[in-house]
Symmetry: C2
């Protein structure tokens, strides 16, 4: 089932308005959820929306809360998300990091006390649309055993890296687990094995069986010990700079996951000169990556599929899961 | 065979002085090589040193060249490494990023036209010793097939992330390949299989056989498609911000690898307040990671083994490969 972007946005906007967001914030919040579905990330768009509304109703998310700057030193700022809507807090923080980078060349906003940011890639596209390079990440509840442990003691801490480009931004949006629990469930429901090992089974052996990993609760970090280390340092930087919580401080139930820490770094190289040549560098890298190498496969750059999916969904409508689409309309 | 730090440094210093570095630069350059061996990374310390000296003699590395600032915008600066010694250029760039972060809260130096930085972790320890958080990376020659390709068209682009901590800094230093060619050779020479799949064999199957990967030249990026994407965006940001070369512009012979692009980001959160609490956050994360979980294994935080190795090597002497140690003394 497919719906137009306008329909999708309108339904989400109506729900958010009823939930108490004021009009401009409801419009942006709905757009960020709708953009995720439009770009092929329904898991962080429409499909995440019912949980978001439940978390408003249980008081975990405070729709009236606005982010507040609590400390600043030049191009580095610390903000308190006040447990407001996570995607609005993150959007505001990236906007602020962009503004700092215009003034100082680079800017960094560390955000404490916020909520799940939805689809992290949104904030990469936001920066790239503004012509700015960005690196941002969030910590999460504990959902990933660090290397050497069997229990989830770190987060999959998604990181987004964005590079603006005239012919399509390059935006990497990845969690530090090899497969999310959502992805594991999708493979299981399709009756498929994972393309590569995604975690450990109950006996502690690497496995491509998604159900075995769901049962053991032992998904793999990307690169085994390497992604585990990256997850740990990103959590640490987020909590240190924001003055907020680390993964070990966050509730382990997804519907109670709050008080997250995030970091938004923007880099505006436009004042350094050479921007025409610089633009060609990104194009040249992509051309080189994609020149035929005899295997018949084509290397994709990060964000390429996003643009293709976005184009098709805007032409043909955005796929929605009918049961979720129905349920959302009655929220 | 083990030698004292003083012996190791003295021998390297003498060679560098003969090679034409002036005294203070020779001292620092020797220290950076010696520190790598001291910390257990001989592959990027003593064992890399003969190649470095050869590259001075062939003119790839210009010992007289100093980095020059070519553009600046507030906390963001672009420097030209002028093909000087890579570790000196990188050390200077991190020093400059640290200084910018003291003034602006955050600082970023993009460095073009430089050489192999040796052990990247040095620059993470440098920042952490200065009390500053750092993220830095380098591009490299093409040594890694991006996901979907069989040819090396991206670099393993090592990234370093450092967090200062009173009881031992947390420093992640990792290339974006799962195993370096040096690591593959070590496993092969010990007659061991890799602990996890490290690349593809000639038939295109994932394998733990190091020799098969050396033969196919198809090592794996960390996290498969994820590390591949990260490698691409880091290369792009380095070339864009520095105005320098991307991996696709760099010679593919290691002894001719030059004109690299690097990025050094420093974040000084000390002016934001709450530093005592912030210090406890890092300790609390580590305590949580390392609390027993019934498996008998202990999670290591990034940098923990480095400190252990450093301590042992300073007490017992630094292990050196006798043939390399002899050869270096006659350089």
């Amino acid at each position: 089932m497919r719906v137009t972007y306008r329909e999708l946005h309108g339904v989400l906007l109506a729900v958010l308005t009823r939930a108490g967001l004021d009009p401009s914030r409801a419009t942006l919040c709905a757009r960020l959820f709708a953009d995720a579905s439009r770009d092929g990330v329904a898991s962080h768009g429409l499909n995440l929306f019912p949980r978001f509304v439940r978390m408003i109703r249980t008081g975990v998310v405070d729709v009236a809360a606005r982010p507040e700057r609590v400390a600043a030193h030049g191009a580095l700022e610390r903000w308190d998300g006040s447990r407001g809507p996570g995607n609005l807090n993150a959007h505001h923080s990236m906007e602020r990091a962009i503004a700092l980078s215009r003034e100082h060349g680079t800017g960094c906003v560390a955000l404490a006390n916020t909520n799940h940011w939805g689809r992290g890639g949104n904030f990469g596209w936001q920066a790239a649309d503004a012509g700015v390079i960005a690196i941002c990440w969030t910590n999460t509840l504990a959902n990933l055993p660090p290397w050497g442990a069997t229990e989830a003691r770190t987060g999959n801490n998604p990181i987004v890296v964005a590079v603006p480009r005239a012919d399509g931004h390059v935006v990497l949006d990845m969690a530090l687990s090899q497969f999310s629990y959502g992805a594991l469930a999708s493979y299981r429901m399709r009756g498929e094995q994972l393309p590569v090992a995604g975690g450990f089974d109950a006996r502690g052996e690497l496995t491509r069986d998604p159900a075995a990993i769901e049962a053991s609760r032992r998904p793999l970090p990307i690169g085994f010990w390497k992604g585990s280390g990256l997850s740990i340092v990103l959590d640490m930087i987020g909590a240190l700079l924001s003055g907020g919580r680390a993964t070990c401080d966050v509730a382990t139930d997804a519907e109670e996951e709050t008080g997250l820490s995030q970091v938004f770094i923007a880099l505006d190289g436009s004042a350094l000169g050479g921007s025409a040549g610089a633009a060609r560098v990104a194009d040249r890298i992509i051309e080189h990556l994609q020149s035929p190498d005899g295997t018949g496969e084509r290397v994709r750059y990060p964000g390429e599929r996003t643009l293709e999916t976005r184009g098709r969904n805007l032409r043909e409508g955005i796929p929605v899961e009918p049961s979720i689409w129905q349920a959302v309309q009655t929220l």
